[in-house]
């Protein structure tokens, strides 16, 4: 129960920061994608189901407030959460490179799908512009934001896990 509340707080905080504070802290006219950081991190920390749930809720938030069609971001984020969850077995929490790579790839996948569905299918073939001015700056900024946000998520996750283990051993 506590884990669920903490997870929802994380999603809500990322959503609020991304839509308010980071709107003023843009860098090269882009803002970091905190939602993907949260979704991917919970994915590889908690496994497929956890990632999927977080992705679904994050995507739903985005669809309701930023999206055109309800279900578009939800679909992308659910799948991204799931795919990150499949790397759960390879995850060790003292290594930062592996999460960074996974989050980076997730962001690229998200941007590419977005370009494909929202621009290319409408006949706007601006991939080189999109890559140079939206995708790559977003990737760099997201990775910079990850360095901070990921530490917070990791720390909270460790404490929650320790607490869960303690309460489990007390009952046994």
């Amino acid at each position: 129960m506590k884990r669920r509340i903490v997870t929802i707080i994380f999603i809500a905080a990322a959503f609020l920061l991304q839509s308010t504070v980071f709107g003023r802290l843009t860098f090269a006219d882009v803002r970091p994608n905190l939602m993907i950081v949260v979704t991917a991190s919970f994915g590889f920390m908690r496994g497929e189901n956890g990632g999927m749930a977080v992705g679904f809720i994050s995507g739903l938030f985005m669809d309701l407030f930023w999206g055109g069609l309800l279900g578009f971001y939800t679909l992308i984020y659910t799948v991204i959460g799931y795919l990150n969850g499949t790397f759960h077995r390879m995850f060790f929490d003292d290594d930062i490179k592996f999460p960074l790579v996974l989050i980076g790839i997730s962001d690229l996948v998200y941007s590419s799908v977005g370009y494909l569905c929202l621009f290319m299918l409408q006949g706007k073939f601006i991939f080189s512009y999109f890559l140079g001015h939206v995708m790559l700056p977003e990737l760099v900024y997201t990775i910079l934001a990850t360095l901070v946000l990921y530490q917070v998520i990791l720390h909270v996750n460790r404490r929650l896990e320790a607490e869960e283990q303690r309460s489990a051993s007390r009952f046994v």
Partner: protein, 291 residues
């Protein structure tokens, strides 16, 4: 609490179920058009939080404004004063013309095309969090009389149009958004054109105009562009911006170029929503005719 259920559904199937749910949601949007209860729930949880954050932001912004030096303020005051003098002269001249216009209109029995529209002020509380689109959330909703398709202004220029309304918030799509497309006209010649937002221009806050007929009317850089009378969603005569570049297209039939909007989209904090939509005006004028 942590009892492992032995026969849990494999996550593959959960993923499949969720994908189907998303597919259904995507499809259902076509028929329902709204987000109903989900939107309602969101508007009572997320919007108050966004309100809180943005009011803190506004407070901090005011705080930094307080540290402006006296010198800066004096200079600004001087500039504003001279601008005000110019404006007063302009205003008297325009008012005289206005009286003349009203008199002539009365003679011709013409209706006033656009009176002073009634407006409601609102704060911008959040932007679109993606880097692809430029829309924002304002803190007034259907409870304050806001409806979809209402035009939104800031200062003197057009900002965008209300796309979605919740009880206490509304979403506004900016004119510089990639999906925005407005029927506009050049004020001096009344030539019609299309004003389209473009992702490539979004970061410099410019917009592109297209399909301006390449006729004998000479149109120069710096002319004003306003919303047109044939637009079905935008009220007539709202100022969009100044032409900053214009060139004849390769087909020699049309002209296109760029517009610098009257509004600074990077620091948008307060906006005005016009509380009558074009559809309202059309309906009321039709009713008037039937009588």
């Amino acid at each position: 609490m942590k009892i492992k259920n032995q026969n849990r559904i494999p996550s593959k199937y959960i993923l499949l179920i969720l994908i189907i749910v998303c597919g259904v949601l995507l499809g259902a949007e076509q028929f329902t058009g709204g987000r109903g209860p989900l939107r309602l729930a969101a508007s009572y949880t997320v919007i108050p939080m966004q309100n809180g954050i943005s009011s803190i932001g506004r407070w901090m912004g005011d705080l930094t404004d307080n540290f402006k030096t006296l010198d800066e303020l004096k200079k600004e005051n001087e500039a504003l004063q001279s601008k005000l003098d110019d404006m007063t002269i302009d205003n008297t001249r325009l008012r005289q013309e206005q009286y003349e216009l009203e008199r002539l209109q009365e003679l011709y029995k013409l209706d006033q095309n656009y009176a002073d529209y009634e407006k409601v002020g609102a704060h911008v509380i959040a932007n679109n969090g993606t880097n692809w689109f430029n829309s924002f959330t304002i803190d007034k909703g259907s409870a304050d009389g806001i409806k979809a398709d209402m035009n939104v202004l800031a200062g003197s220029g057009l900002v965008g149009i209300v796309t979605e309304v919740g009880p206490n918030y509304a979403q506004v799509r900016a004119v510089i958004d990639d999906e925005s497309s407005i029927s506009a006209m050049v004020l001096s010649t009344s030539d019609l054109c299309m004003v389209r937002g473009d992702l490539k221009l979004m970061s410099d806050g410019r917009i592109r105009f297209e399909k301006l007929p390449n006729n004998d009317n000479k149109i120069e850089v710096g002319e004003q562009v306003v919303t047109s009378h044939i637009s079905s969603k935008f009220l007539q005569g709202i100022f969009i911006g100044y032409i900053s570049e214009i060139e004849v297209d390769s087909n020699n039939l049309t002209r296109s170029g760029y517009i610098t909007p009257a509004v600074d989209f990077n620091n948008l904090q307060e906006v005005l929503v016009i509380t009558s939509t074009k559809q309202d005006l059309l309906n009321s004028s039709e009713e008037g005719k039937e009588e």
